[in-house]
């Protein structure tokens, strides 16, 4: 019996391979979108974790010096006092084909040594310690180590990209560090009875293990963005799966009714369909996971750039197939099938032998449904705002976003119905009249697809506005922050002084860039000392200022802080900021400092030197009437290496390049979402096809040609898409506002001004209309070519 039913159901697919294809393609597309986002997410997460665990072993605190370098005797003193510590020397190294980060560690005490890919390669463990030593790097980075005087390289795939690990003695030689250390790792478990750190090494700053979460917090927020996108794609995916299954059901209404009439029990039918849907889900899920993998791999260079650019973490630019996200993708397909199929199967269970024809059923469900949707939508949006109002934090922000999105999706159909009613009232010609009324009648059948479109468009506008606002603000900020013409770095203080003396008579102004690593608002941060120069007053990107700010600053009677410190520690102008024990200054202003995760402050150089005497003096900012000439003269006079002088334009290009790549991925995913939403419209239109013909045939009989009807079908889809886009615009802007002033502050610690980009909206609108027109094209062409005999059949006796 079951076999016979299944065979009858399957026979349908064999006769209509196109319909089978739509079912599988819909399921696969939804799964692919979800899988791609998850794959990217998982890969970025894994790579970041890998990099983090190697560079900053989780179970260790660190000691750093405000001056940047720790003398070897401090380390020796710590060991003698019984502290379990491990020295680290880090620097940039020209390795031949590329510049890499060289990490010198003590192989005996370092807590996270890499594992060689091939243990035979590693040779005798003592080789690592004995000259010439060994370098550990992942195979890609290893290939770039072409300099002749480097020790042999051992490939180790668990090394993060761009980082080379070696024994500290080797690193000292290669970096010519002269025994100084970059930082000292402090194990969490220490023997009892040792003297206090502050007694042995009073000028070092101790960061406990947890306090290093600064970059992790940032990365988490990036992941959060991805996860939010993943959830959205899941929602859009469910819409499609639902539509596709509805289509599969609708197309086989006739055969189902025949089977019922032949005495097949409704339950047997439902079971058979369920089995069939699960099989389709499994098949399509696998295909979707494969497709998602391809998409993810194609997007991954972008993902790597995003993470690397924004947070300075290298992500391996290749993708490994992870069982976790294969399972998640399949789960999405099957779960979606069960969820979306449940209501369709419910219909199959109750399928009367003589069912209502489509429209009546739609409309009966419609009127009451619209009111219910209106109420539910408003309630959801209010609940979201209530969450922000009652609770703080990222989660509340996301609850607000979710409520906004879902609530608006529910509001869509009632709002569209209202707009269409107005349109119908304005229509004068009979066909226009019919067009408006008919769109309203179509709403219940299309609303799911239109919701998918609304969400896709709103997210596009929202994320697009956020990203573009970010970029614009950032460019402006770069202009102001990099207001000097040349930036010069040197290796030591005396050389800087020599350069300064040479430059002063030749340049308009020479500004020092000197800073100390201090704790600010309980987090490790940096304090810069500036001299009094009009350039700061003219260009520094202040967000908030108080009267006489620069005067107080240069008098050493005030400090300005970045937004991260302002939001992170809740410090505002008028408050006092403690820079060191016993040194407190009033905050006189807040400035923008995008892209920097850490707290920062600026005061006068003299005051800073008075409290932190050993500030390194390694960087100069120079303003000049003719920067290229000055740079050339400087190179000739001092024989400076090529990268010692950075022209401002070059810095800007570099920064903007990194920044633009950062949001590459958002655009790609947006396009994908839109395509998927277009597919949702297509499946809905195909689903409605069977009930559409009886609605169109009378109009044809009364003298509207098939060609005209086909055009009207396209026009209708485009008009509905346009109206949906109209509603998506305010929603998207609201979304952007939430992202910029709720999510961003929670995640990054800075609030961005919001800019509007009408041109982007126009482009998006055009895209949406094209997607809708393309989706309507297939049914329209089918209508255009429909033989009159098929239309006449609608009027024949047989029902």
């Amino acid at each position: 019996m079951t076999r016979a039913i299944l065979l009858a159901l399957l026979a349908h697919w064999r006769r209509h391979p196109g319909q089978a294809l739509t079912l599988v393609a819909g399921l696969a597309l939804a799964t692919a979108l979800w899988t791609a986002v998850q794959a990217i997410n998982a890969e970025a997460r894994a790579s970041y974790a890998e990099a983090n665990s190697l560079l900053q072993p989780a179970r260790a605190g660190t000691l750093t010096a405000p001056t940047g370098a720790i003398p070897p005797r401090t380390y020796a003193a710590l060991r003698r006092a019984g502290w379990q510590v491990s020295p680290v020397l880090e620097g940039r190294l020209d390795a031949g084909a590329a510049r890499v980060t060289l990490l010198g560690v003590d192989a005996l005490t370092y807590p996270a040594l890499p594992v060689p890919d091939d243990t035979a390669d590693a040779g005798n463990p003592a080789d690592v310690l004995l000259p010439p030593g060994r370098l550990f790097a992942d195979p890609d980075t290893a290939a770039a180590l072409t300099r002749a005087d480097l020790p042999p390289v051992v490939p180790a795939s668990d090394m993060p990209a761009g980082v080379v690990l070696t024994d500290i003695a080797v690193a000292d030689r290669l970096l010519e560090a002269g025994g100084r250390l970059s930082r000292i790792l402090v194990a969490t478990d220490q023997p009892a009875g040792r003297p206090l750190l502050s007694d042995i090494a009073p000028d070092l700053v101790y960061r406990p293990a947890e306090a290093q979460a600064g970059t992790e917090g940032l990365t988490r927020s990036f992941h959060l963005n991805l996860t939010a996108f993943g959830l959205l794609s899941f929602a859009v995916g469910l819409f499609i799966v639902h539509g596709t299954i509805g289509l599969a059901f609708e197309q086989r209404r006739a055969i189902l009714r025949t089977l019922r009439a032949l005495g097949v029990p409704a339950r047997g039918l439902a079971l058979a369909m369920f089995a069939e849907l699960l099989a389709a889900g499994l098949l399509a899920g696998l295909a979707g996971v494969g497709l998602g993998y391809v998409i993810a791999a194609a997007l991954l260079p972008g993902v790597a750039a995003t993470l690397g650019g924004l947070y300075g973490a290298d992500v391996a630019g290749s993708l490994a197939l992870r069982p976790g996200w294969i399972a998640a993708g399949l789960g999405m397909a099957l779960g979606g099938v069960v969820l979306a199929g449940a209501h369709v199967l419910w219909k199959a269970r109750d399928l009367p032998v003589l069912a209502l024809t489509g429209t009546e059923a739609w409309r009966l469900a419609g009127a009451r449904g619209l009111r219910l949707q209106l109420a539910a939508g408003v309630a959801l949006i209010l609940a979201g705002w209530l969450a922000v109002w009652l609770f703080d934090g990222l989660l509340a922000g996301f609850a607000c976003l979710g409520g906004l999105l879902l609530g608006s999706a529910l509001l869509l159909a009632p709002l569209l119905a209202g707009l269409l009613r107005i349109g119908a009232r304005l229509a004068r010609r009979p066909v226009a009249d019919w067009l408006w009324s008919d769109m309203r009648a179509q709403l219940p059948g299309l609303s799911l697809a239109l919701m998918a479109l609304l969400l896709a468009l709103a997210t596009n506008i929202g994320v697009g506005t956020m990203v573009s606002s970010f970029r614009l603000t950032f460019t402006d900020w770069l202009d102001r922050r990099l207001s000097a013409d040349l930036y010069i770095s040197t290796e030591d203080d005396s050389r800087t002084e020599a350069l300064r003396q040479w430059l002063i008579p030749r340049a308009e102004s020479v500004l020092p860039i000197r800073s100390a690593a201090l704790r600010l608002g309980d987090r490790p941060g940096r304090v810069y000392g500036v001299i009094d120069d009009p350039i700061y007053r003219a260009t520094w990107p202040m967000v908030r200022e108080t009267p006489g700010l620069w005067e107080r600053l240069s008098a050493g009677e005030g400090v300005i802080i970045n937004e991260q410190l302002h939001f992170g520690a809740g410090i505002a102008p008028g408050d006092d900021l403690q820079l060191l024990p016993g040194w407190t200054l009033p905050v006189v202003g807040i400035y923008a400092d995008y892209g920097n995760p850490d707290p920062q402050a600026i005061t006068s150089l003299d005051t800073l030197l008075a409290h932190v005497p050993d500030l390194p003096d390694r960087q100069l900012a120079v303003r000049s009437a003719d920067p290229p000439a000055l740079a050339a003269a400087l190179r000739d006079a001092f024989d400076l290496p090529a990268d010692a002088i950075m022209p401002q334009a070059q810095i800007k290009t570099l920064s903007l390049g990194i920044f633009d790549r950062t949001f590459l991925i958002t655009g790609a995913l947006n396009l994908l979402t839109l395509g998927v939403a277009g597919f949702a419209i297509l499946t809905s239109l195909l689903t409605l096809w069977t009930i559409r013909l009886p609605q169109l045939a009378p109009a044809w009989a009364m003298g509207i040609t098939r060609a005209r009807l086909a055009w009207l079908e396209i026009l209708r889809a485009v008009a509905l898409a346009a109206l949906t886009a109209l509603l998506a615009l305010p929603l998207g802007l609201l979304l952007a506002w939430t992202l910029l002033s709720v999510i961003n502050v929670e995640a990054f610690g800075w609030r961005l001004p919001m800019y509007l980009f009408p041109l982007d909206w126009m482009r998006l609108l055009a895209l949406a209309l094209v997607a809708a027109a393309l989706a309507a094209l297939i049914p329209a062409l089918r209508l255009r070519r429909l033989p009159p005999a098929d239309l006449v059949k609608v009027f024949a006796n047989v029902r």
Binding site: D433, W434, P698
Partner: protein
């Protein structure tokens, strides 16, 4: 001569016998003609051909001086829009439009909407007060009357009706037919109607029977 069906044959694709096989029929202004025949004999098919809906394989149909076989899609659509009106067996109202919009739709398409005339039809058909309703909220008999009203509102030269009383009880059917005959007389159109019922057929001026694809 309003309608001239001359030796028309029609075979549906996939069928082994023709539905219509050499059908001849003429209809003048003011004529009323009833067509009877068994179920499946091709009555609806003939009506649809006369209404320029479907194509035929042989012979010629001339409607209001125009040979249908020479018309393209647009030409046939224009005839349907302006010259003929059909009352379908299943009513086939426009589900998205209200009763009033349905009543006026064909007339507006034809460019002949006359509010006073439509008001008269609505009243005579007993549809007053139902104008704002949608078709699905009407009974079968009411829908049937809207379908007839829609056809008459555009003042067709030829009114084609496919079992217009088939879904009505005998009394209502007789009443609706009276209305149609009256209104046809009012507008000077020709009426070509298909029916099962001898009583209905008897009220038409002429009566034909379709059997094995031929008229007798």
């Amino acid at each position: 001569m309003l309608l001239d069906i001359d030796d028309v044959t029609k075979t549906y694709p996939g069928a082994d016998r023709p539905v219509l096989n050499g059908v001849r029929l003429r209809l003048d202004q003011g004529d009323t003609l009833a067509l009877t025949g068994e179920s499946g004999s091709g009555k609806s098919t003939l009506l649809h051909l006369a209404g320029a809906l479907d194509r035929f394989d042989g012979g010629e149909i001339t409607l209001d001086g125009t040979a249908l076989s020479r018309l393209d899609d647009t030409g046939r659509a224009r005839l349907r829009r302006r010259t003929v009106a059909l009352v379908f067996q299943q009513f086939n109202l426009m589900p998205a439009l209200t009763v009033d919009q349905n009543l006026a739709f064909h007339a507006r398409l034809a460019g002949r909407a006359d509010p006073a005339w439509i008001d008269r039809i609505r009243t005579r058909l007993g549809l007053d007060g139902l104008g704002a309703r949608y078709p699905e909220a009407l009974s079968g008999g009411q829908q049937q009357r809207v379908a007839i009203g829609r056809a008459l509102a555009m003042r067709p030269r030829l009114l084609l009706a496919d079992e217009p009383t088939g879904n009505l009880d005998e009394d209502t059917g007789a009443e609706v037919l009276s209305l149609m005959l009256d209104l046809v007389a009012d507008t000077g159109a020709a009426l070509f109607l298909v029916t099962h019922s001898d009583a209905i057929a008897a009220r038409a001026a002429r009566r034909l029977h379709l059997h094995h694809g031929r008229l007798t």
